[in-house]
């Protein structure tokens, strides 16, 4: 029952939002939905309800981790939205809020889906409801970004559907029954036809990898993150990529159960290293702060893929990094959104020295940069360190060296943009009339960052147990 509530609650919220005539009251529906949603998610994770609907939906440690991430991000963004939506009162917010709540519903559904078809439906739904969110600014640029996002991700997801069908056909060919629920696939994957299973995995990886933004399938990412409002960028970079990663992990679980880890790890490793390389190349001399964050997101998707590919402690690190990356990246997008709106620009040369004008947002942006690049004592330092320990522990010294060098290059590349933007000499004659820092727009990025700092210093036992269990699920072999 409680699992249904996780999906039904945001859908109800969106129906009320669609019917409510007042633009002024409607933004309050977002926290009114996301805070109870968070409470239900915590309760569900605590009691671990049994699977329902014939094994179609259920909550394992992996799903619980992603669900927790999505729900935390939504609470943070819902408070930010209250401040954000007052800036453009004349634009109307019905479509935006309806889509936002449906986005929460679709991501929650993906996290609890135990049937590959249902997972696909939920992930495709996230693409469709997030397209209007990206288009919120209604400019030439945002329409281009939306079209690229919509077409590339739809085609990518269509390929993932083909992958799901191939996995099912592998069952039909191997033991005569076509299955799509995770439990039944995992139980019988050892008997599956190998060629179909491998083909299926590659299609799943390409399809959901497009959605996750692993290089070389990341091309929509800088455009979409760059043109979307800050909070939407945060939800995409923190929430949606985690959901897509979950879909890939489901495929990894199946390959593990079939005894095909080798191919699966090689493919993930190749995409992970490519992602780090691409991010390092494009983050240097990046003129646009939001596009810079998008390439940083490509980098962190690469770290997740490498973590799973290396295995052992690195898989644990990857699970931990899902949470760290999501919280830090969303915080960065929210503070970048504030800076963008104050200066009316997101280009590096036009927003020098924002610390003087926007003390809270610029501080959060600067600290967020330090956190995301893996500086202690923030959480990402610990998770990246765990991945690195796994790499060296597994004897991949060349990979380890390349990993460290690329991370340093990205640190310098991002630093050369972030430092002038925050600490540089303040620009004169900037008088922004329609944006002032208010409690509502700065509290979310600061609280997210405080959480990242907290889990960097003290990781609570239940969270640690959740990462260990999730890593065990990913690592499980026949």
């Amino acid at each position: 029952m409680i699992l249904y509530a996780i999906v039904v609650l945001p859908i109800l919220g969106s129906i009320i939002a669609a019917l409510l005539p007042s633009d002024r009251l409607r933004p309050w529906l977002v926290p009114a939905t996301s805070i109870p949603h968070f409470a239900i998610v915590l309760y569900a994770i605590a009691i671990r309800p049994p699977e329902v609907a014939l094994g179609m939906i259920g909550l394992d440690a992996l799903g619980a981790l992603i669900l927790l991430v999505v729900s935390i991000l939504f609470v943070a963004c819902s408070i930010y939205a209250l401040g954000y939506l007052t800036c453009h009162e004349s634009w109307g917010n019905r479509t935006f809020i309806v889509c936002l709540l449906l986005f929460l519903a679709a991501m929650s559904m993906a996290a609890i889906a135990r049937h590959l078809g249902l997972l696909w439906v939920a992930v495709e739904a996230t693409t469709l409801v997030s397209a209007p969110l990206i288009y919120y600014n209604h400019s030439r640029f945002s329409v281009e970004a939306t079209w690229k996002y919509l077409l590339l991700c739809s085609v990518g997801i269509a390929l993932a559907m083909l992958g799901i069908l191939f996995v099912s056909y592998a069952g039909l060919h191997g033991n005569g029954t076509a299955e799509l629920t995770m439990d039944k696939i995992l139980a019988s994957a050892a008997t599956y036809s190998k060629p179909w299973l491998r083909a299926g995995f590659i299609f799943l990886l390409v399809g959901f990898g497009t959605k996750m933004g692993l290089a070389p399938l990341h091309t929509w990412k800088p455009d979409a993150y760059g043109e979307a409002p800050g909070m939407v960028g945060g939800l995409l970079a923190g929430g949606l990529t985690s959901v897509a990663f979950l879909a890939i992990l489901r495929a990894v679980q199946i390959m593990g159960a079939a005894g095909e880890q080798v191919l699966c790890h090689q493919a993930l490793m190749a995409m992970g290293v490519t992602s780090l390389l691409v991010a390092a190349i494009f983050v240097i001399q990046q003129k646009d702060i939001k596009r810079m964050l998008a390439y940083s997101s490509v980098e962190h998707m690469g770290i997740l893929a490498i973590g799973v590919a290396v295995g052992g402690i690195a898989t644990y690190g990857a699970m931990f990094h899902v949470l760290n990356n999501a919280l830090t990246k969303t915080s960065l997008f929210l503070s970048a959104g504030n800076i963008h709106r104050y200066y009316g620009s997101k280009r590096r040369c036009e927003i020098m020295g924002s610390l003087a004008a926007l003390p809270f947002s610029a501080t959060a942006f600067l600290l967020g940069f330090l956190a995301i690049t893996g500086s202690p004592p923030f959480g990402p330092f610990l998770s990246e360190f765990a991945v690195l320990r796994g790499i060296f522990g597994g004897g991949h010294f060349l990979l380890g060296a390349a990993f460290i060098i690329l991370l340093v290059v990205i640190f310098i590349g991002m630093g050369s943009t972030v430092l002038p933007v925050t600490l540089g000499p303040a620009m004169e004659e900037v008088e922004s009339e329609y944006f002032k820092e208010t409690a509502l727009t700065v509290i979310s990025p600061i609280l997210l960052l405080a959480t990242v700092l907290f889990i960097g210093i003290y990781l609570p036992k239940p969270l640690q147990a959740m990462f260990t269990q999730a890593a065990a699920l990913v690592e499980a072999v026949q």
């Binding site: 397209a131 939306t146 079209w147 690229k148 085609v155 269509a158 069908l165 005569g176 799509l180 760059g226």
Partner: protein, 212 residues
């Protein structure tokens, strides 16, 4: 028993060639609609008549044969798209590539490890050639609406392959897949409308403002 499905497969392949070779947009939309509609007839013909196959069939027919083409035709009227298509590569070259892809699909399908019932079936080679044609349309067409048609042909190929596995898909999930597709076309229609407002055309070559 196999004659009707095989006739449908051959028609699907012919429609692929018609779409890739035709220069008239309206005709292309109607051809994609026809392709979707006849594919929708297949589930009961392959798996026998049952509640599941009948509902799947009628749902797919309503969506692929009627609702989606209606949305697209409405969009062309609103946007007043110039009705002729200008591809990136010529029609003759497209047709040759299409023929190669279809031939390749048949040869490739012969080598695949299939279960005995499917060894001489036309479903898998037809699905593969339809997938390839959809991709070809997506890559070679400039206008947003033609790319949407390519996406639809691609989806038809997946649908065809999915029919073989209809038993593993519960009806609720199939309904979800079809609903997602309808919404996808609806959202793409809206975005096309906005592209047209911003650029006075839906030529995707205009979409080159965002780059490094």
């Amino acid at each position: 028993m196999h004659e009707i499905p095989n006739t449908i497969m051959l028609t699907v392949i012919l429609i692929n060639f018609f779409i890739i070779g035709s220069s008239r947009l309206g005709a292309c939309i109607q051809a994609v609609a026809l392709q979707g509609a006849i594919l929708a007839l297949l589930p009961p013909l392959i798996h026998g008549f049952s509640g599941h196959t009948i509902i799947l069939s009628s749902g797919a027919f309503l969506l692929k044969g009627i609702a989606i083409p209606w949305l697209l035709l409405r969009a062309t009227k609103q946007i007043q798209i110039k009705r002729n298509i200008t591809p990136r590569i010529g029609f003759v070259a497209s047709l040759i590539l299409g023929a190669l892809a279809t031939g390749g699909a048949f040869i490739f399908a012969d080598r695949l490890p299939l279960i005995t019932e499917h060894v001489h079936s036309l479903v898998i080679p037809t699905a593969m050639s339809t997938l390839a044609m959809g991709f070809l349309l997506l890559i070679t067409r400039k206008k947003a609406i033609n790319q949407v048609l390519g996406y639809l042909v691609f989806e038809n190929g997946i649908f065809l392959f999915g029919i073989l596995l209809a038993k593993a898909m519960p009806l609720m999930v199939e309904a979800g897949v079809l609903l997602d597709m309808l919404v996808a076309i609806f959202v793409m229609g809206i975005v096309m409308n906005h592209i047209n407002q911003e650029f006075s055309s839906i030529d995707t070559e205009n979409l080159c403002l965002l780059r490094e």
